[in-house]
């Protein structure tokens, strides 16, 4: 599957073209500056003065245990919620709300069950009043996620993995500069998850997209990310900022380099998790 769209000519760097047409670079530059957050109803900070930067085209994983605020952080990157303090800056502009230039993918595909695969994929374009692009753009993204034969199917007829592919196509249709993934593969079986992890990374690299991925799965971080931020919980802080230096082939796993990176990250993760005073489990 990977080889298939790597060689295809049906999708010749569309994001690069669109980006150029709009006078932008392909992937977004993201900077988080002094970001802190507290929920109104809970005492104390969920996120405590985070500072980090993501370069255009970079894939960053936010690795942390449940409740460390990584999902909250991702919502703030997307503009779906706003931080109590500090700011999120994308391409030099402070984020104040959602935008078509960066799209979030959630744990559940949340497709609209009264629509076909193609209609779901076309939604972003419809909302952006770019309906004229639907006829060309939707087949392109469905090809990209390997769902072309399913265009006219109702989404309820698809498997979980296929539904998540539709959600990916829907996210990509508007040619965003950044993709934000909130554990989007956690509900899938191991085999489907592996193929989506590989394909999503390949697509992001191919389109030059910046990607921020939230996960609690060390092997997912090793497979997908160029760089990993390991987050501390209560309050959420960056405990470690480490690069994953693997080639695309090594990321497939089953080699010494992969295993070494996996063990290294697992050790960092375990140490951070056990340093957490609220730690009671050993997951």
């Amino acid at each position: 599957m990977f080889a298939r769209f790597a060689n295809t000519t049906a999708f010749p760097q569309p994001a690069a073209q669109d980006g150029a047409a709009r006078g932008r670079a392909t992937g977004a530059h993201l900077a988080v500056m002094g970001l802190s957050h507290a929920y109104k109803k809970i005492d104390g900070l969920v996120l405590d003065s985070l500072d980090f930067e993501v370069q255009p085209g970079e894939v960053l994983a936010l690795l942390g245990r449940s409740g460390c605020g990584k999902s909250t952080l991702l919502h703030m990157l997307s503009g779906l919620s706003l931080p109590s303090a500090g700011e999120v800056v994308i391409n030099g502009n402070t984020v104040r709300g959602p935008s078509q230039a960066w799209v979030m993918m959630f744990q559940a595909p949340s497709l609209y069950p009264w629509m076909s695969v193609a209609q779901n994929a076309a939604l972003g374009l419809r909302f952006a009043r770019r309906s004229s692009e639907i006829a060309t753009r939707v087949p392109e993204v469905l090809e990209l996620v390997d769902l072309s034969p399913y265009a006219d199917r109702n989404v309820q007829d698809l498997s979980g993995g296929q539904q998540q592919r539709v959600a990916l196509a829907r996210s990509l249709a508007t040619a965003p500069e950044m993709l934000l993934l909130d554990e989007p593969f956690s509900a899938l079986d191991a085999f489907t998850r592996r193929s989506l992890q590989r394909d999503v990374r390949a697509i992001a690299r191919r389109l030059g997209l910046t990607m921020v991925l939230v996960t609690h799965d060390v092997s997912e971080a090793v497979r997908m990310a160029d760089r990993v931020l390991v987050l501390d919980a209560n309050p959420g802080r960056i405990a470690e900022d480490t690069a994953i230096a693997l080639t695309e082939e090594q990321r497939e796993g089953g080699c010494e380099r992969f295993n070494a990176e996996h063990i290294r990250l697992m050790e960092i993760y375990t140490e951070v998790a056990h340093g957490d005073p609220s730690d009671q489990t050993d997951d």
């Binding site: 997307s78 949340s110 609209y112 069950p113 009264w114 939604l123 419809r126 909302f127």
Partner: protein, 277 residues
Amino acid sequence: MTAIPDTARRNAGAGGFRLSQLARARGLAHAGLGIALLMGLWWLGGRAVANNPNMFAFADFAPGPTLSALWGIVQSGAVIDMSVPSLYRVGYGMLIAAALGIPVGIAIGRLPWLRELTNVPFQFLRMISPLSWMPIAVMAYDTWDGAIVFLISVAAVWPILFSTAAGVRRIDPAWLKVARNLGANPLHMLFVVILPAIAVDILTGVRLALGVAWVVLVPAEYLGVTSGLGYAINDARDTLDYAQLGAVVVVIGIIGFALDSGLAALIKRFNWVRASA
């Protein structure tokens, strides 16, 4: 992403086809039996009435006289003349009920404070028989028609409103979040997400409302109007033409059944929930 082999699908299709044919034939047979049972009871009732010295004057209610009177009003076109005004009043009243009930229902479903605010007043008003408003309606409206349409609207608005509100509350919040994330404006939210999501709830409300409206129509048409099915009933009673009265009752039943079946078909058409196979 394995495709189902074509042969397997064809076989499953063929098996399903035969089964569904069988179920369909059985359903039709049962429906026919039900109608026959009703006719039999009607006929027995007619016999009993004819043989009862206190009631034999009403013997024209029996199937024979009624059906021949029905054939008479069908041939003369009188059936159209009496049905059209009634259908117009019900249609107009339903339209007003939907125009009020759907937007208010959506607002109530979306806004918890509005739901809390309106719950007691609406439940209270809902329990009042629409016909209780009859004297007020007669005073408030210049025409009898206006009063009847008002009564039908009052009867029909509640099922539409409550069904719409319940549908909105069942909307998956993730659908709204995803739409917002994809850049939907409030109009997109309404027309692309909310309305398709609750189409079946709205239509179910309309179906319930139509049932109530059709029932309220006949007594409402006992009011001063000189047209419509309710008037035809009243008129037949006054002229002691019980065969005609029976025929109008049959017409009311048939039209009501047809309207309900039409809405049931619409609901089936807009229902996106997959039956778990």
